[in-house]
């Protein structure tokens, strides 16, 4: 302990210590919201309700979270993401596209930037998305087949019961 630190420790009253503990706890609890993200205005601003962000489905929140996390980690400054988003929106506008929802544009902007920065390649994204889609399709097909089998069994049971009834 240095002389200064010892002096500071002597000077600190229990009240100061408690205050310091509260401050420390508060700092640990305080999560950082980047004002550059939070204060986006204009067509690139995320939709809100009573001031809160609105995610209509899980992937929208995850996509927002990915974009912010990558920026927080220093992989790109937020203004670069914002430019990427503005570019996607302008391209939609020029093409007269008013259908594509905000977060699909947001995802496209994130994908463009991630590819541009060499974080992922379009090929691996295409491949993994196709893999997920195939898995989904297989699950849907299996479910449909199970439903059909169930229906067939139910029909057979009914027939059997009717046959038993007419024989008896």
């Amino acid at each position: 302990m240095t002389a200064d630190a010892a002096k500071a420790a002597d000077a600190a009253t229990p009240g100061d210590a408690a205050k310091a503990a509260v401050e420390a706890a508060r700092a640990a609890n305080a999560r950082t919201v980047n004002p550059e993200v939070a204060e986006m205005q204009g067509p690139e601003a995320p939709p809100r309700k009573n001031g809160e962000l609105v995610f209509d489905s899980l992937w929208e929140g995850r996509t927002f979270g990915m974009a912010v996390t990558l920026s927080d980690k220093g992989l790109y400054p937020w203004r670069d993401f914002r430019s990427s988003l503005i570019e996607v929106i302008s391209r939609c506008d020029e093409a007269g596209d008013i259908q594509t929802p905000y977060y699909e544009r947001f995802l496209a902007a994130l994908e463009n930037l991630a590819v541009d920065r060499g974080l992922v390649s379009v090929d691996e994204l295409d491949a993994l998305t196709a893999q997920y889609a195939a898995k989904r399709a297989a699950q849907d097909a299996a479910r449909a087949a199970a439903d059909a089998e169930e229906a067939a069994r139910a029909a057979a049971d009914t027939q059997e019961a009717e046959a038993a009834h007419s024989n008896g």
Partner: protein, 205 residues
């Protein structure tokens, strides 16, 4: 998730594409699922007025907390692990049947962002900043808030060092509600003071 469920919907292409992107970024060690979770939670909870609503609901149910909140806003926020934003002091001003409070920042857009999130666009507009001081009753009227003549209107001008928040009156008919339910009733605009909170519709709460 809030998509209509009149028939089971297949996962959208965008959802699968987003999952693929996340999986690749995680697999490459660029980001972790946990860090995305933390960011989503922070932006869902700290970007809007929810923290302010929690403070208001606590003050409504706990008179001792309310007394501490009115005496020293900053310390009372700290009790709940909150801060008013940018290290500023916070003064909480209470609406009563005789007094209605309104906050403004005439010079720029100082705002208790730690508890109310982002200011609405109109809060930063020159029209609101100037008129809130000169003719607060007309401004309130435009927000649909009609006050009897004998109610005093007080306007509080925020600065970088001192921010304000309005403690709205607890609406009638909310006696049976829990603290969590009360949080849902408190709107951003009521904590700026441009509106009063209406009693919840019968049977809705």
């Amino acid at each position: 998730m809030s998509t209509s469920h009149h028939r089971p919907e297949p996962e959208s292409y965008a959802s699968m594409r987003a999952r693929a992107l996340e999986a690749l970024l995680v697999e490459k060690g660029i980001i972790s699922t946990d860090s995305i979770d933390a960011v989503v939670q922070a932006y869902e909870e700290d970007i809007g007025p929810r923290n302010g609503a929690k403070v208001v609901a606590r003050a409504w149910v706990d008179p001792e907390y309310k007394a501490r909140l009115l005496a020293d806003g900053r310390a009372a926020l700290m009790e709940l692990g909150l801060a008013s934003g940018q290290g500023a002091e916070l003064k909480v001003v209470e609406n009563t049947p005789d007094t209605h409070n309104l906050i403004v920042c005439t010079l720029c857009s100082c705002y208790p962002s730690g508890i109310l999130g982002l200011p609405p666009k109109w809060y930063k507009d020159f029209a609101y900043r100037s008129r809130a001081v000169i003719e607060p009753r007309s401004v309130l009227h435009e927000f649909g808030t009609a006050l009897p003549e004998d109610v005093e209107v007080r306007v509080w001008d925020s600065t970088a060092e001192l921010r304000y928040m309005v403690l709205p009156e607890r609406p009638d008919g909310t006696e049976g509600l829990s603290e969590d339910e009360l949080v849902e009733l408190v709107s951003r605009d009521s904590m700026i003071g441009v509106v009063k909170l209406a009693a919840p519709a019968r049977g809705a709460a």
